[in-house]
């Protein structure tokens, strides 16, 4: 009989990892106040968190605004495009 109780077959990392992220990129058009409002309104971030992310986009050129499975990130990116934000998704380690 196989030692089914000894070795976990599933790698713990694959159970807990959330390997996709939604990235918002800086552009010269979108108003900082608008970007912050979208982050609050769509993602439900607090005012402080939305400001922090918006400033990260502005100063660092990009910010990860959500992490999760691929389908959820595709929905977020689609929504961001609806608001006119410059967004894409990628694997978290990319």
């Amino acid at each position: 009989m196989a030692q089914i109780l000894d070795q976990p077959i599933v790698d713990e990392v694959t159970l807990t990892a959330q390997p996709w992220v939604t990235i918002v990129w800086n552009d010269p058009v979108n108003l900082m106040s608008y970007v912050s409002l979208v982050f609050r309104s769509y993602f439900g971030y607090t005012h402080e968190e939305a400001e922090r992310l918006m400033l990260a986009v502005h100063h660092e050129g990009r910010a990860v605004v959500a992490t999760g499975n691929r389908e959820a990130m595709e929905r977020h990116v689609q929504a961001m495009h609806g608001y006119g934000l410059w967004a894409s998704l990628a694997r978290e380690d990319a």
């Binding site: 058009v29 106040s33 595709e74 689609q78 006119g84 894409s88």
Partner: protein, 188 residues
Amino acid sequence: MSAFVRPADGPVVLRLDEQETSVLGQLASQLVEMLEDATRAGIATAVHLDPAMARLVPEGYRDDPEAAEEFRRFTADDLVDGKVSAAQTVLDAVTATGPEAEVPGVVPAGHEGGVAVSLVGDTAWTWLRFLNDTRLTIAARLGIEDDTEPFEPDPTDDDDEQDPQLMMAIYAWLGYLQESIVAVLDEA
């Protein structure tokens, strides 16, 4: 001159004079036309030919052209439909100047001309989306690419269809309108 009026009860009202409604009407109808032309040509084709369309319908994946193409195939039509719908809503509002034209939340502003738009519910977001899409389009047309330096129109640009200084003034005014509506929602 556009102004935001906050009645004692009820939503904030955006008042636009005759000239402003005329400018917004032209922009909204041009945006609708551009988006509908792109839909007819196919969004995937349009984004390769027109930088403005490329910015309005960005790539969902930056490092994976195949996934980006598939993402666009599944999302672009809905995305563009939403943008057309927002522009059409604004167009209906700013052209509702006659007594016979009834648009919910919009009243003709009497003898001064123009309209008063009630920013109730989703209306404010519809305007924000339209203003943002229009600013993105103008920015693509003017080649605004860097927010660290003030924009200078290229003097060698011989495209005389649009006056860059006028476009820049309109761009700034649209930014003011958008900023003001954001402020309205911030207070809510």
